[in-house]
C-alpha cells in the first residue's frame, strides 16, 4: 500500500515537473523580451542578458514615445480592430441566426453556399483584384470589408443558436405575434451574450494581429497597422540592412536595437492582458468550433 502511494507521488512529481518545464519553455521567449526591453542594448547584444535585466534603462521606452510610426500604427490598429470587429459582429451574428432557423427559405442551398467557401476559394490574386476593383486599395475599407465575414465563425454561431436557444421559446413567441426581428433583438440576442463575447474575442484578436492584408492592400505608411510597422522595424532591418547610405543604416539599426523589445511588448500587451479574463469564452468558442455545424 505504501509503495503504491509512493508510486503515485512520484507520478505527480514527474507530471508537474514536466508541465512546469513546458511552462518555462513557453514563457521564456516572452520573459526574455521583457528583460531585454529594460536592459542596455549593448548588454543585450553581447549576450549578458539571459535571466535578469542588466544595466537597467528605460531609454527604449522613452524612445518609443517619440517614434511616430509606432504610435500611428497603434492608433490605426485600434481603429481597424474596433470598427472591424463591430462590423464582423453585425454581419456574422445576423446571418448565423438566420441560417440556424429551420424555416429560412432555401436554407439548405444557402448553407451550402456558405460552407462551400470553407473548402474552395478563388485564390489570392482574384481576391486582390476584386478589392482593387471595389476601390478599396489603400483605404480603411480594405481593413474591414474583405474580412467582414469569417465563415468558420459563422458556423460557430449557427451551432450556438441551434444548441443554446430552445426551439419552444421561438414557438411561444410566435404564438404571441412576435415577428422575427423583434424575437431576434429582444429574446435571442440577450440570451446570446456568451456568443457575442466569443465572437468579439475571436474577431478582435484576428484584427489586432493581422498583418498580411494590410501589407498587401495598404501603400500609405501612415495607414499601416502596428504589425506592419513592427515587421519593418525588426525583420526588414535584420534581413536586409543594405541601405544606400551606411550612416543612415547604422542609425536605423541603433534605433531598432533600442526599441524593438519594447515595441514587441507594446504591441502584444493589450491582447496578453485581456485574454486571461476571457479565457473561458475562448475555450467555449473552441469547443463550439469542434462540434460540426
Amino acid at each position: 500500500m505504501v509503495r503504491q502511494q509512493d508510486k503515485e507521488r512520484r507520478f505527480d512529481f514527474l507530471n508537474v515537473g514536466i508541465l512546469i518545464f513546458f511552462a518555462v519553455v513557453t514563457l521564456y521567449p516572452l520573459y526574455f523580451v521583457v528583460i531585454a526591453s529594460i536592459s542596455s542594448p549593448i548588454d543585450v547584444n553581447s549576450g549578458k542578458v539571459i535571466l535578469f535585466p542588466v544595466n537597467l534603462t528605460f531609454d527604449g521606452y522613452r524612445e518609443i514615445f517619440q517614434y511616430e510610426p509606432l504610435w500611428k500604427g497603434y492608433i490605426n490598429t485600434v481603429l481597424y480592430t474596433a470598427l472591424g470587429t463591430v462590423i464582423n459582429l453585425v454581419v456574422t451574428i445576423t446571418s448565423g441566426y438566420a441560417l440556424s432557423r429551420q424555416d429560412l427559405p432555401w436554407r439548405r442551398f444557402l448553407t451550402f453556399l456558405f460552407i462551400f467557401t470553407l473548402f474552395f476559394q478563388g485564390g489570392l490574386i482574384p481576391r486582390y483584384l476584386v478589392v482593387k476593383d471595389l476601390g478599396l486599395m489603400n483605404n480603411l475599407g480594405a481593413m474591414i470589408w474583405p474580412n467582414a465575414l469569417n465563415v468558420f465563425y459563422l458556423m460557430m454561431c449557427v451551432t450556438f443558436f441551434r444548441t443554446s436557444i430552445p426551439q419552444e421559446l421561438h414557438e411561444s413567441a410566435r404564438m404571441d405575434g412576435c415577428g422575427t426581428f423583434r424575437y431576434f433583438t429582444r429574446i435571442v440576442l440577450p440570451l446570446s451574450q456568451a456568443l457575442v463575447a466569443i465572437m468579439a474575442l475571436y474577431y478582435g484578436i484576428f484584427h489586432w494581429n493581422s498583418f498580411f492584408d494590410a501589407y498587401m492592400f495598404l501603400t500609405d505608411k501612415d495607414k499601416y497597422p502596428i504589425q506592419v510597422v513592427l515587421r519593418d522595424l525588426i525583420i526588414s532591418n535584420q534581413s536586409m540592412s543594405m541601405d544606400i547610405d551606411p550612416m543612415a543604416a547604422d542609425e536605423r539599426q541603433r534605433l531598432a536595437d533600442l526599441i524593438k523589445y519594447g515595441a514587441i511588448i507594446f504591441s502584444s500587451l493589450p491582447v496578453l492582458i485581456v485574454y486571461p479574463f476571457l479565457q473561458r469564452y475562448f475555450v467555449k468558442g473552441a469547443m463550439i468550433g469542434a462540434v460540426k455545424g
Binding site: 526574455f32 432557423r101 429560412l104 478563388g122 481576391r127 513592427l230 534581413s239 514587441i264
Partner: protein, 311 residues
C-alpha cells in the same frame, strides 16, 4: 399587438421569412463580394488577364499558365517545401497536445491547472509577426541568445535564418511553440467527459495514475485524435503563409519558398517585371483544386474508418 393577432396566419409567416432573408442579407452580400466574385475571377488562370478588359473579356489561352508553372524551376521547389513543411509539422506537432492534455488532466488542484493552461495559451494570442520577430532576434548570428549559448560552449555561431537547412526546423518549432497549448483544448474537453466511474472502479482494482492514463484516458482520446489526424492530411498542401513569408530571407529561399509565397511574388509584387496576374492565379487555382480533392479524399477515409466526417 392586437393588430398582429388579427393578421392572417399565412401573411405573418411570409413576413417572418422575409425578415429572415433580410437578416442573412449582409452576410450573403459579403460572401458574394469576397468569395464568389473572386471565384468567378479565378477564370483568369485560363486567360491572359488585362486589367482594363476585366475577368471575362481577356483573351482565352487555355492551360498555358498552368503549363508554364509545371515547367518552371519553382514548381518542384515550392511543392516540395509546402508538402515537407506540412508533414514535418504534422509528425512533430501532432502528438504534443495529446500528451500535454493527458498530463494536465492529472493536475488535481484546479487553480494550478488553470494557471498552467493560461500560460500554455499565451503564445496563441501573439501575432505571427511578433513570433517571427522574436525568432530573428533570438537567432541572430551576432547578438542572439542562441548563438551566445553556442559560443559559450565553444561552438561556431550559426546564421540560422540564412541557412536553408535550418528553415524547416525554425518554421516548425515556432508553430509548435505557438499552437500546442491551444490545441489541447479539444482533448481536454474529451477528457472532461470521461466517465468518472471508470476511474473509480479502476482505482478499486488498484490501478495507479500512470495505468489509468494509458488504459482509460488515452483510449478515450483516440477516436477524436484519429479523426483530427486524418483530416489534417487534407491540409497538407496549405501552409501558414504569413509565417513562411515572414521567416523568409533571400538566403534561405530554397527551403522557404512555398506555393503561396511564390504566388504572391509572381502575382502581386511582380518578379522583375509586371505582376503576372494570370500566371499567379493559375498557381492559386492549382493549389485550391488539389486542396479540395485532398479534403474530399480524406473525408471519405475518415467516414469509413471512424464514421465521422466534415460534412
Amino acid at each position: 399587438m392586437t393588430v398582429d393577432r388579427r393578421t392572417p396566419r399565412k401573411n405573418r409567416f411570409d413576413a417572418d421569412k422575409f425578415q429572415l432573408l433580410l437578416l442573412i442579407f449582409p452576410g450573403l452580400l459579403m460572401l458574394v463580394l469576397f468569395q464568389y466574385w473572386p471565384m468567378w475571377g479565378a477564370q483568369i488562370a485560363f486567360r491572359d488577364f488585362v486589367p482594363s478588359k476585366g475577368f471575362w473579356d481577356s483573351t482565352w489561352v487555355g492551360l498555358k499558365h498552368f503549363e508554364q508553372f509545371f515547367n518552371s524551376y519553382y514548381f518542384e521547389i515550392t511543392i516540395r517545401n509546402t508538402v515537407l513543411l506540412s508533414l514535418y509539422q504534422l509528425v512533430a506537432g501532432f502528438p504534443l497536445p495529446i500528451i500535454m492534455a493527458l498530463m494536465l488532466n492529472y493536475v488535481m488542484r484546479s487553480g494550478a491547472k488553470k494557471t498552467l493552461q493560461t500560460i500554455f495559451f499565451a503564445p496563441n494570442f501573439i501575432s505571427v509577426t511578433v513570433v517571427a520577430s522574436m525568432m530573428f532576434i533570438m537567432l541572430s548570428p551576432s547578438s542572439g541568445v542562441v548563438n551566445h549559448l553556442i559560443k559559450s560552449v565553444g561552438g561556431q555561431p550559426v546564421f540560422f535564418l540564412a541557412e536553408p537547412d535550418w528553415f524547416y526546423h525554425i518554421f516548425t518549432l515556432s508553430t509548435i511553440w505557438q499552437y500546442t497549448g491551444v490545441n489541447t483544448i479539444i482533448f481536454m474537453g474529451v477528457l472532461a467527459g470521461v466517465d468518472p466511474g471508470l476511474h473509480e472502479s479502476a482505482m478499486l482494482d488498484g490501478a495507479g495514475k500512470m495505468r489509468r492514463m494509458f488504459s482509460i484516458d488515452l483510449p478515450a482520446l483516440m477516436p477524436v485524435a484519429i479523426v483530427l489526424l486524418i483530416l489534417s492530411f487534407g491540409r497538407i498542401m496549405s501552409i501558414g503563409f504569413e509565417r513562411a513569408f515572414l521567416l523568409q530571407t533571400p538566403l534561405n529561399l530554397s527551403a522557404s519558398e512555398v506555393i503561396p509565397t511564390y504566388l504572391y511574388k509572381a502575382g502581386i509584387l511582380g518578379t522583375g517585371a509586371l505582376p503576372r496576374y494570370s500566371f499567379a492565379s493559375a498557381i492559386g487555382l492549382f493549389q485550391g483544386v488539389i486542396n479540395l480533392g485532398l479534403v474530399m479524399v480524406v473525408n471519405t477515409v475518415s467516414k469509413r474508418i471512424s464514421g465521422q466526417s466534415l460534412y
